[in-house]
């Protein structure tokens, strides 16, 4: 792997980073993929490579300058067809911290409003020199479609209910910091799992890392085909997956609890009777967390509806690592952009 070169230091800042070694790659693993579309195709070694690269990036972020020139001359375009605060901002910060040129496009302010198709849009962006596209789109499979029709690298910033790989990777990054090796750990993911790209990408990555996952929520918001019993999973070294409507069982002995955002617009329209009814059964509260392990951390991909899927005292309590997740998001997205962009140069 190429070393992370430092940006030209500002006059008032010492060139601290100049002597820093490059991040150590996982044994024998190099990034070779053009795109990062989901975690399901990644090997455990590739996931480890991203997380280790992210550690090095976090270190860069802690330096006084906080940026390097590793991607100088690389153009990163963020193309967002949905509103986003943290994902879009952290992609932009990540690209800038690596010295890349950044163009931010929102679908509402682009030719998309005039009817331009996704395929034509990504071809246009490639023609004007985009090397990496960070794409957020409401349709599942949009990132795969874009990736097929451009030579630029596509990093999926969330497509419909399908995948959100950088979110899952930053979640694993955060969990590893607190829990160490994730093999044999139990992670409970609670909420509208059926419509959650965060839950899917986490499920694939966590199972690949050997963690057991409990997916929990009202029956109408749960997938029906994701269960993988321990006996079967252990043969492959993958973690198991349990799908349950029983919150107490899902939280029992959990090492990490992830609450998913309950989309208000979806409630009261069929799948769930009301927010109130959801809160009664599935809100993550201090009392309910007593079933989890004493050291268990509480996570949320944001944005949170405090008082719905998570009680305010939990969201801001000692177990909460929500802000750490956001900070880790920049490091993980730096790692993703760095790996994709440097693979392009080879």
């Amino acid at each position: 792997m190429a070393s992370i070169e430092t940006a030209a230091p500002a006059a008032d800042a010492p060139p601290v980073a100049a002597t820093q070694p490059p991040p150590a790659p996982a044994a024998g693993t190099a990034w070779t993929r053009k795109d990062l579309l989901d975690t399901d195709v990644l090997s455990a070694a590739e996931i480890a490579l991203v997380l280790e690269t992210a550690e090095a990036m976090a270190e860069v972020r802690e330096r006084p300058v906080g940026r390097v020139a590793a991607l100088r001359g690389t153009t990163v375009v963020t193309l967002f067809y949905e509103h986003s605060t943290r994902t879009r901002a952290s992609f932009e910060l990540a690209a800038k911290a690596l010295g890349a040129d950044v163009v931010n496009l929102a679908a509402s302010a682009s030719s998309v409003e005039k009817g331009e198709s996704l395929v034509d849009t990504v071809r246009t962006l490639e023609a004007i020199g985009a090397d990496v596209l960070a794409l957020r789109h409401p349709a599942s499979g949009a990132a795969a479609l874009a990736a097929r029709h451009t030579a630029a690298s596509v990093v999926n910033g969330g497509d419909g209910a399908h995948a959100h790989p950088t979110q899952a990777l930053l979640d694993l990054y955060t969990m590893r910091r607190h829990l160490g090796d994730l093999a044999g750990r139990k992670v409970a993911i609670v909420g509208d799992v059926l419509h959650s790209r965060v839950a899917r990408s986490n499920l694939w990555a966590l199972r690949a890392a050997g963690a057991h996952v409990a997916l929990c929520g009202p029956a109408t918001l749960l997938p029906r085909t994701f269960a993988a019993p321990r006996a079967l999973a252990e043969d492959t070294g993958a973690g198991a997956c349990e799908v349950t409507s029983d919150l107490a069982g899902a939280l029992a002995d959990a090492d990490a609890v992830m609450a998913l955002r309950i989309q208000r617009e979806r409630q009261g329209q069929g799948p769930a009777p009301s927010l109130r009814d959801y809160v009664r059964q599935y809100q993550i509260t201090e009392e309910r967390l007593a079933r989890a392990r004493p050291h268990a951390i509480v996570m949320h991909p944001g944005p949170m509806n405090e008082g719905v899927e998570i009680a305010p005292e939990v969201a801001h309590g000692p177990r909460s690592v929500v802000e750490e997740q956001v900070a880790g998001g920049v490091a993980v997205r730096m790692a993703a952009l760095y790996l994709l962009a440097t693979a392009r140069r080879r």
Binding site: V41, S140, G141, D159, G160, A161, H162, T225
Partner: protein
């Protein structure tokens, strides 16, 4: 009119129980004789050795797109596609703009077909005015204008009361009511089968129950009215089972399946690679289902529960399918691969060749009683109109949508090697299509 002798083929006509090596002599638009060693006289001869000579295929379900959607297909292009696929009669579905909901509209369609069509076109009229699901279309007028059936295809008939009335009235008019069985409150917004693949891909699913509940409704109303019901493009094991039980009870219903549902499952959407492909060419309504469903559909054809293999040929313009999966339209351009799909399944031992050929010829002709309009459709009978399809059940070829006659290149079979190819097609005694055998045939 000139004469044609189709020589040396294996003549198979399920309607007549015929399966023998024989020549077929055609003159003046009609079958003149079927037998060994017929004298060509002055007739043009067609060498059919190694081939099956069958009645021209009958497609109960094709979307010709004209009028209104000429960017997807026209009567000229889509009947040429049907012709190359071995179909000599196609039933044109009514989801056009304007839809054929009046005698004038049907006559207009027949006039265009008379000018442009390469095969016989049998119009299917609307059940409801404007295909809008609010009030019945004038069914007697549609029957008089030449409709062989009525349907609101693309959608189910909106209300149970309308379907009931259509069945009751259609029975007396000789009109089959062909129902697209779906409960939209259950399937609404679904873009593929609700199951393992859809969950993995994060795509909204249509549960099998959405079709099966609507099949149950249609069968109950068939029983209530005694009207002639046809269940279109069945896709689930539960639907086949219901149709079988209804037939056992003697209800006047028929049903069809598409080659796509016989050949593919929900996994076609994901494709064969490690990362899901979201192949919009495999987006079809009803959706491709599970392997269990596929096996039940195959058994349905083999056991005669399913009367017809109908293409649901649904061409779309390339840019319409080059979209996000959610945004792409439903439909597969199927006419030119239908036979090869069937013969490939037969070669694998999954389809009984005799049952499959019946479901391409006599089965559909009987289902819509086409003999009233086109005597000879679905059979090779001396004295009747000569529609014949000659195919080599073994010839291997690779599907290349760029070579389709259809404007629709939307097939999930692109690049796939199939076995079985149409070699010649005769419509009303005229050799309309003749394909040279592939260089690597029998390879």
């Amino acid at each position: 009119m000139s004469a044609l002798l189709i020589r040396g083929g294996r003549v198979v006509d399920p309607a007549a129980g015929r399966d023998e090596r024989a020549d077929v002599l055609i003159a003046d638009g009609r079958v003149r004789a079927i037998g060994a060693g017929l004298d060509a006289g002055g007739a043009e001869t067609l060498d059919a050795r190694g081939c099956v000579v069958a009645p021209g295929f009958v497609d109960l379900h094709a979307h010709l797109r004209e009028p209104g959607f000429e960017q997807k297909g026209t009567i000229a292009t889509e009947t040429e596609a049907a012709l190359r696929g071995g179909f000599t009669t196609v039933c044109a579905m009514p989801n056009t703009t304007p839809p054929p909901d009046s005698g004038a509209a049907v006559r207009g369609l027949l006039e265009r077909a008379g000018r442009d069509a390469r095969v016989r076109v049998a119009p299917v009229g609307c059940v409801t005015a404007g295909r809008a699901g609010r009030r019945l279309a004038e069914l007697a007028e549609l029957a008089e204008a030449g409709c062989v059936a009525v349907s609101d295809d693309g959608d189910p008939v909106a209300g149970g009361d309308l379907l009931r009335h259509a069945l009751a009235l259609g029975g007396a008019l000789g009109l089959v009511v062909a129902e697209h069985c779906d409960d939209p409150t259950l399937s609404g917004g679904g873009v593929m089968h609700e199951g393992a693949t859809g969950e993995r891909l994060g795509l909204r699913g249509q549960p099998a129950a959405a079709e099966e509940a609507a099949v149950a409704r249609a069968i109950a109303l068939c029983e209530l009215t005694g009207g002639r019901l046809h269940l279109m493009h069945l896709s689930t094991a539960g639907s086949v089972e219901q149709a079988a039980r209804a037939k056992e009870r003697g209800l006047p219903l028929t049903c069809e399946v598409t080659p796509s549902h016989l050949f593919l499952t929900e996994e076609a959407v994901a494709g064969g690679g490690a990362a899901p492909a979201y192949d919009t060419s495999a987006k079809v309504n009803p959706p491709l289902r599970t392997e269990r469903d596929r096996r039940a559909l195959l058994a349905g054809v083999n056991e005669g529960v399913i009367d017809a293999i109908a293409t649901d040929h649904a061409p779309h313009a390339p840019e319409e399918k080059l979209r996000e999966f959610d945004a792409a339209p439903f439909g597969i351009s199927c006419a030119e691969t239908a036979l090869a799909t069937v013969t490939t399944l037969a070669a694998r031992g999954e389809l009984d060749p005799a049952a499959a050929l019946r479901a391409l010829t006599h089965g559909p002709a009987e289902a819509f009683a086409l003999a009233r309009h086109a005597p000879g459709a679905g059979t090779l009978t001396p004295g009747l109109a000569a529609d014949a399809t000659v195919f080599d059940p073994d010839e291997r070829w690779t599907v290349d949508p760029a070579r389709f006659a259809s404007k629709g290149r939307n097939t999930p079979l692109a690049g796939m090697e199939l076995r079985g190819r149409v070699r010649a097609v005769v419509v009303a005694g005229v050799l309309r299509h003749a394909a040279a055998p592939a260089e690597a045939a029998h390879g």
